[in-house]
């Protein structure tokens, strides 16, 4: 039984580090991207992704683009948004169209347990996909 694979998109190395450790601690397999371009490349290249965790403000674009591409290829997979602001801001309607609400949003700074809870809600069960 292979673990869930989760794409973490954040330009801050330490954020990718934290998310990676939390995900591994939960038994999942993280994949990382530091830019929007890298994220799109990973989404296109990989055959399976079960969850996207993306920051909103990326050096070369906006998280909504990653989410949109991700949703196009893996329509059934969940998405979580990390933001240093308090809301989905100006992209709220676009996110809603992709099935992402303010409940799927983690405001920085968030606690590790908050991240764990959010991931658990998107990826039920400890193991990988059936």
């Amino acid at each position: 039984m292979s673990p869930y694979s989760v794409l973490v998109v954040d330009d801050e190395e330490f954020m990718r580090n934290i998310c990676g450790r939390v995900l591994r601690g939960m038994g999942h397999e993280p994949v990382f991207a530091g830019t929007l371009a890298e994220a799109l490349e990973k989404i296109n290249a990989l055959e399976r992704l079960d969850l996207l965790i993306t920051d909103l403000h990326l050096p070369d674009g906006h998280g909504i683009e990653a989410a949109s591409c991700f949703h196009g290829k893996f329509p059934g997979a969940g998405m979580l948004v990390i933001t240093a602001f308090l809301s989905l801001d100006t992209h709220i309607e676009e996110f809603q169209a992709l099935g992402v609400s303010e409940n799927d949003m983690l405001s920085k700074p968030f606690s590790v347990s908050a991240l764990e809870t959010a991931v658990k809600a998107k990826l039920p069960g400890r193991g990988g996909p059936p």
């Binding site: 801050e12 330490f14 954020m15 934290i18 450790r21 939390v22 601690g25 403000h57 240093a84 602001f85 308090l86 809301s87 405001s107 920085k108 700074p109 968030f110 606690s111 590790v112 347990s113």
Partner: protein
């Protein structure tokens, strides 16, 4: 105005009293003057003349100097005492310079010699009447100068009323102004003392009713004798003994501003068309004064409005700049903060930490969270979220905030006096955000009342021109003038470190602004503080 209004000469229709013991002179002057449109009454001697002067108003007396029983000079003195405005021309058949000088000294207008040259007399009469007219006009001019020096109606109208009594020789006068709902209200009166309260009320009531008719028709009226006898005002019972009245509508550009009412109650002589002419001049002054005062008031209101708008605008600009800055800072801080907290939590999961190390890292985590809260508040302030489009009543929102603050208010023994009138309009908004604002203002008031047992917090609602206004007023320590301009600035606080972030009022300000409302402060150190929220009423907001 030179008296030529109706194509007649000055003092036309003026009344002249001719006093002479010689029938021939009386008849001759009567005939000549009547044929020149003057009203002529004759008297045979001084006593007869004085009696006639008491009975009616004359503009001019032409009198012989030498008469039986009462000497002409003696009579002149008595006339001037009785009516200082009446002009007197003395005449004699054997005049000396001395008698002429002495007559002029006693106030005579001029001196003529018999036998009369009638043309000379007519010129003299006209000059005397012109002077008489001029005297009244001068009075009007003087009063208008006084009147235009003040722009406050409550100071001005009593002066106006007093002057109308003086100039028009009435016993009492009142000025009524058009109030709201097109209803005449007495704005000032003169000659009606307070101990005549009943009479005053009656006169004013009468005045109001007659004035109502004059106002409706917009035509001035002289009413002589009992009101019941006047067909124009049939059905109105006179309540006091008014002998004669002038009721004059005050009209500007076709719009009725009010009515001037001058009455004679003790003086028996009736108002004349000449008096009405003077009233015309005087009323134009009153009208102008009322108009000036109204314009001035409008100007004052406009200036106040502009000043308020300007200060709101300045505040809005300042807040927008601070908001933008703080949003940027918040974003920059939140990222590293997420790192600090994340790694601290990860370290805490390790089994190899000593108790001391664990405690230290927990402190790092706690203080980082505190940073996070401050930043979150900042973001909340800077985030220009719309106020929300929910139609809501303010009373339940306020009650919810009061309930949340209830424990603190009771502990500090703060007496809350709440008065929200039923006409307080509903608003469009977000109840949670507004509750946050109310709670913030209530808690600020509580803090201002700290240590003062039995302090009062008044929450007063009102409807003001399409807006719902809530006033939170405490009688606490107040805000010093130098701090008043800073209370809405983020991070401005007078509380000791750690007790307040200085963001409460900034956030409240931002929320009210997002609701298209205003939040302002009034305060005096040592006396108390009032925060005033003004929100557009729902109908306005939903447009």
């Amino acid at each position: 105005m030179n008296g030529n209004e109706n194509g007649k000469k000055a003092g036309a229709s003026a009344k002249i009293l001719v006093v002479d013991d010689e029938l021939g002179i009386r008849d001759m002057l009567s005939y000549e003057l009547s044929s020149h449109d003057y009203g002529v009454v004759t008297a045979v001697n001084g006593e007869d003349a004085l009696e006639k002067l008491r009975g009616e108003k004359f503009q001019l007396v032409i009198s012989d100097v030498k008469m039986p029983r009462m000497d002409g000079m003696e009579m002149l003195e008595a006339i001037k005492k009785l009516d200082p405005d009446v002009e007197v021309i003395m005449s004699t058949g054997f005049g000396t310079i001395e008698t002429a000088v002495s007559a002029m000294k006693k106030g005579a207008y001029d001196f003529v010699q018999k036998p009369f040259n009638i043309d000379e007399i007519l010129v003299l009469i006209e000059k005397a009447l012109e002077k008489n007219e001029l005297k009244i006009l001068l009075g009007v001019y003087e009063t208008s100068k006084a009147v235009l020096a003040s722009l406050k109606l409550d100071e001005l109208l009593p002066i106006m009323a007093r002057l109308s009594v003086q100039i028009l020789k009435g016993d009492d006068a009142s000025i009524m102004l058009m109030g709201q709902e097109d209803c005449l209200k007495v704005a000032a009166s003169s000659g009606l003392s307070d101990d005549e309260a009943e009479r005053k009320k009656a006169c004013l009531a009468l005045g109001e009713r007659v004035a109502g008719i004059v106002a409706r028709d917009q035509v001035p009226a002289i009413i002589n004798g009992p009101l019941e006898d006047d067909p124009r005002f049939s059905g109105i019972k006179s309540l006091c003994s008014i002998c004669s009245s002038i009721v004059y509508p005050l009209i500007l550009d076709g719009k009725l501003l009010g009515v001037l009412n001058v009455n004679r109650t003790r003086r028996l002589e009736a108002f004349t068309p000449g008096d009405l002419r003077h009233a015309t001049i005087f009323c134009s002054q009153i009208t102008q004064a009322i108009n000036n005062a109204a314009l001035y008031r409008q100007l004052e209101n406009k200036i106040r409005e502009i000043q308020e708008m300007q200060s709101q605008l300045l505040q809005a600009e300042k807040m927008a700049a601070i908001g933008q800055l703080s949003a940027g800072i918040a974003h920059e801080i939140n990222n590293p903060l997420a790192g600090i907290m994340g790694f601290a939590e990860i370290v805490l999961k390790s089994d190899t930490l000593s108790a001391g190390q664990r405690e230290d890292i927990e402190t790092i985590l706690r203080q980082s969270k505190r940073c996070g809260d401050i930043v979150k508040n900042l973001l909340q302030f800077s985030r220009r979220k719309k106020g929300g489009e929910k139609l809501l009543r303010l009373a339940p929102v306020l009650d919810a905030a009061l309930q949340l603050a209830g424990f603190d208010l009771r502990r500090e023994e703060v007496e809350v006096i709440k008065s929200l009138p039923p006409e307080l309009p509903d608003v469009m908004g977000d109840p949670a955000q507004l509750e946050q604002v109310f709670l913030n203002l209530i808690m600020n008031a509580r803090q201002a009342l700290e240590g003062k047992k039995g302090g009062k917090l008044r929450i007063l609602g009102s409807a003001e021109g399409g807006r719902a206004v809530l006033r939170f007023e405490d009688d606490g320590c107040g805000i010093p003038a130098e701090n008043l301009g800073k209370v809405f600035d983020p991070f401005f606080t007078t509380k000791e470190a750690g007790k307040g972030t200085g963001l409460g009022l900034s956030i409240s300000w931002g929320i009210i602004e997002a609701h298209r409302g205003t939040l302002r402060v009034e305060s005096r150190a040592g006396e108390g503080t009032a925060f005033i929220i003004s929100l557009p009423a729902a109908k306005e907001a939903s447009k």
